[in-house]
Symmetry: C2
Subunit: 349 residues, 2 copies
DNA sequence: CCACAAATATACAGCGCTGGAAAGATGGTT
DNA sequence: AACCATCTTTCCAGCGCTGTATATTTGTGG
């Protein structure tokens, strides 16, 4: 099982190592006859270059790390797919690190772990403070995703969360909702992505002259559909009345749909629901889910552009790219005011 | 930006490289005073070991590759998550390769790409023939996932697809279905996973004395929910009558639920639906989805066990591990015969 | 106070590959 | 036939780290 090395091929072909290396790399100035002989030796021995050794010699790894909270969150799995594809297109391979939103793991990702292993890191932080990140950045090019407060030295790609939440809220208001809830605030999320969305939601209500009602800001224990179900169910049980919900992400929205269905409410007639991320399931829930749609492709492309500039040697201050978003309107919150029951009947449910 | 090397630390601390290395590795026989001095130098310089160099020296990479068709297929993203967690537990990092079911990419994964890069590969093939795989295995430990025909030399983990499909079919039969469709056969899938499921479905019908009807075997163009929608809709339009569907995976099932809903059929009253993979969405569709549940954790653990044995040097013939499965019964195909309309009314829809 | 074992620390040769310098061929000029 | 310029090929010093062999120090008992 001893691996075939460059020198083995060289000996068999009766040439120097470098010539074999040149053949492997398609270096142009190799005489055809020699090239053929070397190739034959390569084939005969089944030679495969040792990438680790090549890396040590060249200093380039050709790999990037993608650090995300959860691989199987639909938003992140869809993002991962696009990143994997873009990486392939640009000649990189991807190491995926799952942080599970654990601050220690997040730190580890940036700290010693990426030492010389990857050419760059794309990182979606959840628990780490921006300042921490800046400190730990040990020279490996880094691009941040998500809503962390603008770091000074680090590149960063995000959508305008405030404005997107504003769009979602306006949409619900336009369709006639007046008691709009927000799902959900999570204690552990300190990067501000939720709070930006909450802020946009509040702004939307205020500009429409609707008074803010703290009761309508629902909290959740974790980022799962189940937590969404629980939060909505509990609000209903508490007697909280609402006719619309802006959800922090699609998983919460999916949970909300279930909770509303189980409690006998119909969507969107009784309660309109807006999700966030426009993940694939949004088109397959029943009713289908209106959802804030970040331009995922733009995020991925922007992230790679920034990363490759850093890899190429850019050492300036952090750039901050805001990519577009839209509202994908589906059945759970249609455009037209389509309420079948009058709002005043709501309490009768 | 010049990286700090072991020798830099050694010089600052006034010791040999190896002593620094020993400190980094917590080698026990280092005098406390020296250890402290070295640690101070490490901290002062911000030294991080170069993993690529370490790899070259040790020959171990501490990485495994996971090659799957699509990162964002719920089954694979859930599997990936578990693999990532198990890998962390066992001290490995994971490179994820997305093959997109492309035979060329699949080949590349096994062929030159893993050269010395990873200690092992976990691979879920879709298009490659088993024989091909055996040929390309260049010495890197390999474990196959999924339903490829038993390879002779390669380790392999799967569930018993025939028996699982049989269970699903029996379940539908027990609840009163008689015209049970199978969704969906895909031309591009040559590994036999679909055909095994189809076989189990047919066996289930036969043992119940139900005649096979080729019309009820629905094909799909690709592995997406949309293709499932299309296939079911088209069958309905063609006038195919059915009161149950066994789906090849949850995405098809989700598409089936949508198509049935859009055509005015209710699930499970008119048509009962069984999915496959028991992905997270199964609990959140409306109605919730009965689904074949492979024991994902068992798959992951078995795969790692086999892989680590190979890494440790096992060179014997391929082992084949069959892990358990169950049927997660939910609303789309409940246990009891719960049909509201009589079957004869079906055509009236 | 010495011999000898155990505990610590060092030296250095690789791991397999690449990059640049240098050597060797080749062929066209004058 | 001597001389370049150009094309091919070889040589060899690293890349940063670890494992083994070896040297040095420390500790113990007689």
């Amino acid at each position: 099982m001893a691996r075939v090395r460059l020198i083995d091929v060289a000996e068999l072909a009766g040439v120097s190592m470098k010539t074999v290396s040149n053949v492997v790399h398609d270096y142009p100035h190799v005489a055809p006859a020699l090239r053929e002989k070397v190739q034959a030796a390569i084939d005969q021995l089944g030679y495969r270059p040792n990438l680790t050794a090549r890396r040590l010699a060249t200093g380039k790894t050709g790999m990037i790390a993608l650090a995300i909270p959860e691989i199987d969150h639909p938003y992140f799995s869809e993002l991962s797919r696009q990143i994997a594809e873009e990486a392939t297109r640009r000649g990189y391979r991807v190491i995926i690190e799952q942080t599970l939103s654990d601050p220690v793991t997040e730190r580890a990702v940036l700290n010693d772990r990426e030492a010389g292993l990857v050419d760059g890191v794309i990182f979606h932080p959840v628990r780490m403070e921006t300042l921490d990140i800046a400190k730990l950045d040990a020279g490996t090019p880094l691009v941040l995703l998500g809503e962390a407060a603008m770091p000074v030295m680090t590149d960063h790609v995000m959508i305008d969360n405030v404005s997107a939440a504003l769009d979602a809220t306006r949409h619900l208001l336009a369709s006639g909702c007046r008691r709009i809830a927000f799902l959900g605030v999570i204690a552990a999320d300190i990067t501000g992505s939720t709070s930006q969305r909450l802020f946009g939601y509040q702004q939307g209500l205020l500009e429409a002259g609707v008074q803010l009602n703290p009761e309508l800001v629902l909290t959740a224990s974790e980022f799962t559909a189940e937590a969404g179900v629980h939060s909505i169910t509990e609000a209903i049980d508490r007697g909280v009345r609402f006719d619309g919900v802006v959800c922090r992400d699609d998983r919460f929205a999916i949970g909300a749909l279930k909770a509303l269905h189980d409690s006998g409410r119909s969507v969107p007639e009784d309660v309109a629901v807006v999700g966030w991320d426009n993940t694939f399931m949004a088109a397959y829930t029943s009713p289908t889910l209106t959802s804030v749609a970040p331009e995922k492709t733009a995020i991925v492309v922007a992230a790679f552009n920034l990363l490759e500039e850093r890899i190429a040697g850019y050492r300036g201050v952090g750039r901050h790219v805001i990519v577009g978003h839209s509202l994908e309107v589906r059945e759970s919150a249609p455009l037209a005011p389509s309420r079948l029951r009058s709002r005043t009947d709501f309490t009768a449910l």
